[in-house]
Amino acid sequence: MKLKSRHLLGLDGVTKEEITLILDTAASFREVLDRPIKKVPPLQGKTVVNLFFESSTRTRISFELAERRLSADVVNFASAGSSTSKGETLKDTARNIEAMKIDMVVIRHSAPGSAQFLTRVLDSNIINAGDGWHEHPTQGLLDMYTLREKFGTLEGLRVCILGDITHSRVARSNIFGLTTMGAHVSICGPSTLIPRDLEHLGVKVYHRLDDVIQEVDAFNVLRIQLERQKSGLFPSLREYHRFFGLTKEKIARAGKPITIMHPGPINRDVELSADLADSEHSVILQQVTNGVAVRMAVLYLLGTTN
């Protein structure tokens, strides 16, 4: 089996079979990561460019490691100090880099649709590493991988995405992926940070943690960005933490263990209490490890089929 598209732009519209293929492929690469020599040859001779127009630590390093472990040649681009700061357009930047004969582009950009935009102006395989608030498909996949590893299946699993949904590409990719895989997805957050008509994506929306805490197997806790408070979307971090922050005490009310995920970076004791982030229920570091395997799977599946 193959993926239908030669790009990975998002999980919206990706089928259950395709997601399963990626997760199964990731499982075989996950095993490679535990070997003393963590390198396999499938992308030997392929050149991958990481085009990062937004700052990123974890995602960029994770992609770079994944690429190198598949034996690809890797070039990194970060927007600071590049021609973008001199006013060059995304199209020109991308075309110039492609003119140097490359095979795949991993793009992180603040504008929704920018990965799709590249598919129209380039011939390379395009992988979306986060486009504005739209999608972050490899994050969605690594979250699903981690949940599947923990629970054995995604079918019927009850997952709550907690926090700022409006501005979250992680939330969207998780919603698309998890609903496709048959999980029950709930959303919890302040009404000013939940976009209109979200229910149409097949999720249940809550505004009180206590209402949802009894009904979930796992939380995916999103980072709350400080500038959202400044733009008037919620009154204060203190209030946010009190009503939407996840703590050991609140989790205890469920009377059963609940798995905690977070895409990072964590604002400790804002959206997630420090003790919970470091507790035995947290799979946050497994997410990071699995991220490399999942990205290897995506690079492999896209890079070896055309």
């Binding site: 919206d12 995304l90 199209k91 929704p112 649709g113 935009f117 739209h134 999608e135 008509d197 979200l198």
Partner: protein, 427 residues
């Protein structure tokens, strides 16, 4: 020019005439209209069987970009585009550089219009409502009107401040010139770039809520009730709520009119999923329910006018990230085809009603002289083939810019020629 137009169906909303006739035209003037005329010596006969002869169409909402943005469009290329699309007149919005907020700019635009395309297309400037379109001080409306401005608008931006809007309505009412509002409450639109709702939520795109338009229309209606002598026209109405407000205001007898752009009833927000920046305009494409409501508003007469909001931008300007792209699409050359396909073809409007909304009504709103189709009058006519099937090809557009979301769309019906001021492009 000695022509005999044979067997066309003359549709004239002013006289309510709808009949097949021959029309003899000498040097641009109508000599004779009769059921059957045999061509006199030296007259070229053009067979218009199955074609429609209408009073010249007017697009009361276009952006010609000159002066200041001639890389997007010039008065000449804009008029060529209008002529190709079947329009004998256009009203150009004042968001040029400098803005049309001064009589010299208004005169320049008018005169330039007369000097291009053999004068086939009349160019009527819309004056800015405020100086520099900044929304702070009234533009010299009386001087602008004297120089030929037929309406006042800050289009592209709303007249947002209530105090300024009040004075604009009061002052313009002295001259019977309408204030044309780009209805948008800026506090609610911010960095939005598509309709707020289901599709924007799915795409992670900052939204422009329908209430931004509805709030501004509602506010202006309250003002109009207080200043009933003013004439107020809502540009490019796009939401069901705004339309309902206009309907109620009309029922109340207020001096309010509105226009719709073809893309707002022919397309919906779902097409933004392609992230094609030719689906980005302001107001944005709305929901299916809104598009259906707009068609109903055309049918019941709440919507007076169809106008394109022709907004040329170059490929380089549009080929960027969606959030960075400028708002707007070209519309002059696809308007008639879309209206015939979506409105007449689907039974929303009769041909007579469509021609009213593309000619008679906008001219009346702007106090332009009506087009009289009778012997002795200069021919100001648009010839339409309602049955021709064609596919929109952006490369064939006469406009300098090619930013259309209708590329590749199959349409039935188009304008095939116009007559104005003694010239014609009918072949």
């Amino acid at each position: 020019m000695k022509l005999l137009l044979k067997g066309g169906r003359l549709i004239d909303p002013i006289t309510k005439r709808d009949e097949v006739v021959d029309i003899q035209i000498t040097d641009g003037r109508i000599d004779r209209i009769a059921p059957s005329i045999s061509a006199p010596q030296g007259y070229r006969s053009i067979d218009l069987k199955g074609k429609v002869v209408a009073p010249g169409l007017i697009d009361m909402h276009v952006h010609l970009r000159e002066p200041g943005y001639e890389h997007k469009e010039t008065i000449e290329t804009g008029c060529a585009s209008a002529a190709e699309g079947g329009f004998t007149a256009v009203c150009c919005m004042p968001n040029t550089n400098p803005a049309i907020d001064d009589e010299s700019v208004a005169r320049y635009v008018r005169e330039k219009g007369k000097s291009v395309c053999n004068g086939l297309v009349d160019v009527y400037p819309i004056g800015a409502a405020t100086k520099g379109r900044k929304g702070e001080e009234l533009a010299p409306m009386a001087e602008l009107a004297e120089a030929g401005a037929v309406g006042f608008s800050d289009d592209g931006a709303p007249i947002a401040h209530a105090g300024i809007m009040r004075r604009a309505l009061e002052y313009s009412s002295m001259y019977g010139v309408p204030v044309i509002q780009h209805a948008e409450e800026p506090e609610l639109t911010q960095a939005g770039c598509m309709n707020e709702g289901m599709t924007a939520t799915r795409l992670g795109m900052p939204g422009i809520p329908p209430i931004a338009e509805e709030l501004m229309v509602a506010r202006d209606i309250i003002m109009l009730r207080y200043i009933p002598r003013a004439k107020y026209h809502v540009a490019h109405i796009s939401t069901q709520g705004a339309l309902d407000a206009v309907r109620a205001a009309k029922a109340e007898g207020l001096n309010i009119t509105c226009e719709v752009a073809p893309h707002h009833f022919a397309l919906t927000e779902e097409v933004v999923s392609s992230f094609d920046t030719n689906t980005k305009m302001n107001p944005p494409l709305r929901t299916r329910e809104d598009a259906a409501a707009l068609k109903a508003g055309l049918k019941d007469g709440t919507i007076d006018v169809i106008a394109t909001d022709h907004a040329p931008h170059t490929i380089d300007e549009k080929e960027v990230e969606y959030t960075q792209a400028p708002f707007g699409i070209v519309g002059l050359e696809t308007c008639v085809g879309i209206c015939l396909t979506e409105l007449v073809g689907k039974g929303v409007l009769t041909l007579m009603q469509l021609i009213e909304k593309l000619s008679t009504r906008p001219r009346a709103i702007l106090s332009l002289p009506p087009i009289i189709i009778k012997e002795g009058e200069l021919a100001n006519l648009t010839i339409i083939d309602p049955d021709i099937e064609w596919t929109v090809d952006k490369e064939l557009l006469k406009s300098k810019s090619k930013n259309t979301p209708f590329h590749g769309m199959q349409l039935k019906g188009k304008a095939i020629g116009i007559f104005n001021h003694g010239s014609s492009n009918l072949t």
